[in-house]
Symmetry: none
Subunit: 226 residues, 2 copies
DNA sequence: GGCAAATATGACAAAAATGTGAAAAAATCA
DNA sequence: TGATTTTTTCACATTTTTGTCATATTTGCC
């Protein structure tokens, strides 16, 4: 299996080194960022980061800021590093999409165990090939989609686009992002092509077509709320 | 059943990676050695190796040397990788206790088939030799296919391709995957060759040809649903 | 409400992918 | 070697998908 790439964001050089060493020893590829802004820069540059270890207390942009920013357009798993175990912090974080907490100081074993657990949870067999929400089941392996158990045919592009929506459930996706992720990078056509595909997907989804919300002036968002 | 551990000995990094990938994909544990001396070191260290894939041409200590050395004290099954099919080499090898030969370049299927055959011969059990679905029966050992009891002739490539389909029943197979798994790794021909073979297989399967579904923009899928 | 901008929709044409038959190339066999 | 079989390529027909456009509708905002 491919080595997972982990970004460690912490302002203390020593802490970064400790974490880096342990993760590297356990077969992970590690990238370091020393503050929130750098973390965002790296993240936007390098799209294949599998997990982020994020310290809360940092200069410039703190962990919460980074978290919010990233959650606007990605569901990459994030583990927060917190100095003390503060319950209110944790509650806030889970709402914002934190996957796990590690309280400093921690043992290397805990670190690796949590990282592995989160990665297993997020990229484990099931979650990778089968997307499921609100009665819509997409099987990427068999390339079959069922809506409330009924088989529905999707063309290649439609399939890819719907998959992208489901993989980013709850996230507002600007047209530019959609083009970048579902179309080839060398596609220079109209934005509006997306609209046409969305139209077709909505109609094929029947009742559930409404879950593809239009975000006026931005793009679309898949959300299973009425 | 316990995963078999296989040691791959070859000086070419690329070759090791190819073999490693395919064996790992097929559920084996793989250990790599990049020359004869390293192979012996590893073998003496790690006593529970179940099979060795041994390249003949290597610097320092070549495949024959490793073979002789290991045969002094072990009967571990050994498959030799040879660049060309040289009969005198093969005869020499069988005398020295070679279990099988694989001539480069080889297809992944051949690799896995030989490995499985040797392991079966040496450790018993195993049975992935007969594929059967919807009235189509393929015997990989005898290379005989029957459709509803009627014998149908398939050429080598057709047989391999159909077997690949049956082994992956229900899974959408991209053309690239098909090429990688059914053709040799050094095949750089057209995608469309697959189409031609599919055409022939479909016609030979008669009614059941329809079970090879076309997945537009992707490739094919074998599925016994109408 | 009315206006401007953005999105939805249906129709259509362009583009892309596949099916097919035949010929070329390669491998195999006698 | 020549003949035969298998495999690959090619050209063209066919099918499906995809993108664009014109028009209708909706939305945000004054």
């Amino acid at each position: 299996m491919k080595k997972s790439k982990i970004m460690v964001v912490d302002d203390e050089q020593r802490m970064r080194k400790i974490i880096n060493d342990f993760l590297t020893k356990n077969g992970y590829t590690v990238i370091e960022a020393c503050d929130g802004e750098e973390a965002l820069d790296i993240f936007y540059e390098d799209s294949d980061i599998d997990l982020i270890l994020l310290d809360i207390m940092m200069p410039k942009l703190d962990g919460w800021g980074v978290l919010k920013e990233i959650r606007k357009e990605s569901k990459v798993p994030i583990i927060m590093l917190t100095a003390r175990s503060d319950e209110s912090d944790e509650l806030l974080g889970f709402d914002l999409g934190v996957d796990e907490y590690i309280t400093k100081p921690f043992s290397p074993k805990i670190l690796v165990a949590r990282v592995e657990a989160v990665l297993r949870r997020t990229q484990g067999v099931g979650s990778k090939d089968i997307l499921e929400t609100a009665g819509i089941v997409m099987n990427k392996l068999t390339h079959v989609v069922t809506v409330d158990g009924e088989n529905v045919e999707f063309s290649y592009k439609e399939f890819e686009l719907l998959a992208y929506f489901l993989e980013n459930e709850g996230i507002a996706l600007p047209r530019a992002n959609i083009l970048n992720n579902v179309w080839n990078y060398d596609y220079y056509g109209e934005d509006r092509t997306i609209d046409t595909h969305v139209k077709k997907i909505r109609s094929k989804l029947g009742d559930k077509g409404k879950y593809i919300k239009t975000i006026w002036g931005i793009g679309y968002k898949f959300e299973t709320v009425d």
